[in-house]
Amino acid sequence: MAIVTTSLKRVAAAGVLAAFISSGAAAQTLRVVQHGNLTILDPIWTTAYVTRNHGYLIYDTLFSTDGNYEIKPQMVDKWSVSQDKLTWSFTLRDGLEWHDGQPVTSEDCVASLKRWAARDAMGLKLWDFVKELKTVDAKTFELVLKEPYGLVLESLGKPSSQVPFMMPKRIAETSPTEQIKSQIGSGPFIYKTDESKPGEKHVYVKNPKYKPRAEPASGLAGGKVVKLDRVELVEMPDTQVQANALIAGEIDIVEAPPHDLLPMLKAEKNIVLDDWNPLGHQFIIRFNHVVKPFDNPKIRLAALYAINQEDYLKATVGNAAYYKTCAAVFICGTPFATDKGGDILLKSNFEKSKELLKEAGYDGTPIVVMQSTTLPILTNTAPVTKSLLERGGFKVDMQSMDWQTLVSRRTKKDPADKGGWNILHTYSVSADVLNPISTSYLVAAGDKGWFGWPTDPEMEKLRDAFAKETDPAKQKALAEKVQLRALETAQYGWIGQWYGPGAHRSNIKGWLKAPVPVFWNIEKTGS
């Protein structure tokens, strides 16, 4: 009886408190916690993934990548390419409108593409081949090339960061070095500037005038059918608070709970773990090519011989269900993936490493490995590198710092013992490393490339040849050569693929599998 009385008291108390707290929002509000705070709202200006996610909510794209990594039209109704493969013509779908009610025109798209091409690596590459981008009529525009280019649609439909999102001309004419000040797109959601509070939440409502394509949704392509009234991106930096709030039903989705919280979330009956990004992520070990001793390719190669993917994956992810070794630079299971040459990354060969160091005349200069201590997924990569390189004959000086210090220090080209660095670790969303052009780590054009600044004319020739090639079979052969060249020069190391499922309440259905968390197609049943 005492137990029953206590329970009744608890129920009554909970009831009173529940009544005291107003329900706040309707059942069709989806509350999502992203992997980081959304601070910058211009997806062309920054490569930050949270800003990209914001972009997919309010903007639309000319083309998109579907669930099978094929490029499909999105805002474009029909397109054609001339016999000589130099003139591409695109016609927009009927009835496309900006959130302010103005029609989407070809002039808007031309301005948007120009701004994007000034910022994005794939856009910059495409623009090397562009002779002219011009409007034909209100709905049609043409892209005229100097010579055939094999990645026109792949560039326009690229997934992940710095996506060519379409914006009204007056906004797209903002200088590429300035942030846009207005959030008007033609996408499935409308950004509510008046209700959004940076650092607290960002609010989006369903765009009632959005016309989804007729095809079913697939990846980032197909019909973007919105089944919610409202999406709130809630800022919640503490992962434990995220888990508690999800369990208590205060939020609906946590995009990327850390691996150590997954068992706890899995044990909750109202929580579902969802592998929304089946491509996952790829760990990277990056060498600084412009300072000693990694200006010597033999010493870089010695480092690659010393490491192995399994050790990194065990130390960072731990649970084998969420990682796999993969010899391919272009993500296992995707069109350009190949194992050729990649086996050196799968098994450490310390003897070979020592042999190469001897041949290269390595003088025992300590290798400065930067360790980020504030991004949990990366924290353990540096200690693994230290251990493996030391076994391979290197001397290692691991220096710990927060991620913000690391991203600042990685821009320095000073010698490692004077504030510079030799090795850093990072990871990439796999969708960003699917071919030799989109993979920024493969750029070997010195200062124009990613941090570490490798210079290799041969690699650039191969990347150019890939970009110009329009035959998929020949592209595949070139992608293989790129991988072999990257290994031959030890440009960098890809040190394993990992997966991070999202977590959602069990009343959430229809979360699409894509490299980006998107919120069309999602249904929320009950409260």
Partner: protein
């Protein structure tokens, strides 16, 4: 008195100036580049350089300081590197949660700690005293975040009585507002209850040994009147001092509590700004905190003269 207040307020100017220079230099000398953070992980060095130039971070330190201090003196606190909002706007959005949390905490702490401390003093050596002091030691020993997570587990996850996180403004409804402040305020109040109750107990015990208390008792005044009207009032100066210090220390406690309960206040703004190296925000928030600190000390000094007529400025 007015001259004293004026002198103290004028004395805050060099303090704020020192804080401004110190924080400015400290931030510039700390590793970390806001331009690299803004640009994102896939950005190239050229993109980072362009952003650095845009933000004026490639200027010499002295030039940066002159530009910034000139703007601050003219009332322009600058713009956040990240949020593209003015610092004044950001602070105005975040100040309510912090103020309300601090207010609820200090009211709760004083309402609990002073009576408990007086009670413990009046029962010195008895079981009530021992229990109060035992809880006090515990309150000092357990870190704020542990108390926070424990309360969340019990009252939000297991019992489901209170929300796990978040904040609602008073304008959104008093019920929503107060229900979300219960756990954060209790979490933050624990250490202050411990601190204030100990000081209250010690101060009252000391006062109870004074001759005038014996005289009051000899006059036949009831024990309650002796305790509250004579002992507590005369013991108030150290209690007020510790409450004042407590309010100042709340700034640190608020940072942790706001993170544990996901309250979008000044504490979280400071943490986010520090992590992102958002210099304009950090500088102004720290200057504001130091001004509040000075102001609280002034109010405490003034309170002394109200409580003890012998103290005159």
């Amino acid at each position: 008195m007015l001259a004293f207040i004026a002198r103290r307020l004028i004395a805050t100017i060099p303090v704020i100036l020192f804080v401004a220079v110190f924080v400015f230099m400290l931030l510039r000398l700390t590793p970390g580049d806001p331009a690299a953070i803004i640009a994102g992980d896939n950005a190239t060095a050229d993109q980072v350089d362009a952003i650095r130039a845009k933000l004026g971070l490639d200027e010499p330190l002295l030039t940066q300081f002159m530009i910034w201090s000139g703007r601050v003196l003219s009332g322009d606190f600058g713009e956040s590197f990240f949020f593209k909002k003015t610092v004044a706007e950001l602070i105005s959005q975040r100040i309510e949660p912090t103020l309300m949390l601090s207010l609820c905490t200090i009211v709760l702490a004083v309402l609990v700690a002073v009576p408990v401390g007086v009670l413990a003093a009046s029962r010195q050596g008895g079981w009530v005293d021992r229990i109060v002091m035992g809880f006090s030691v515990m309150g000092f020993s357990v870190p704020t975040f542990v108390i926070g997570y424990l309360l969340i587990y019990v009252f939000a996850i297991v019992l489901g009585w209170l929300p796990v996180q978040g904040y609602r403004r008073i304008s959104e409804g008093f019920g929503d507002f107060i229900i979300r402040l219960i756990m954060p305020s209790v979490t933050l109040a624990v250490i202050y209850v411990a601190l204030i109750s100990r000081i209250t107990r010690a101060s009252v015990i000391e006062t109870l040994g004074e001759d005038y208390i014996r005289t009051a008792r000899a006059k036949g005044l009831p024990g309650r009147v002796v305790l509250l009207r004579h002992a507590l009032r005369n013991a108030a100066v150290p209690i007020i001092t510790v409450i004042g210090i407590g309010i100042a220390l709340l700034i640190g406690g608020v940072v942790i509590t706001e993170s544990v309960y996901n309250i979008p206040g000044l504490g979280r703004l400071t943490v986010d700004a520090v992590l992102a190296r958002d210099f304009p925000v950090i500088q102004i928030v720290i200057m504001m905190f130091s001004f509040v600190f000075v102001l609280i000390n002034l109010i405490i000094d003034l309170a002394y003269s109200v409580l003890d007529p012998r103290i005159r400025y």
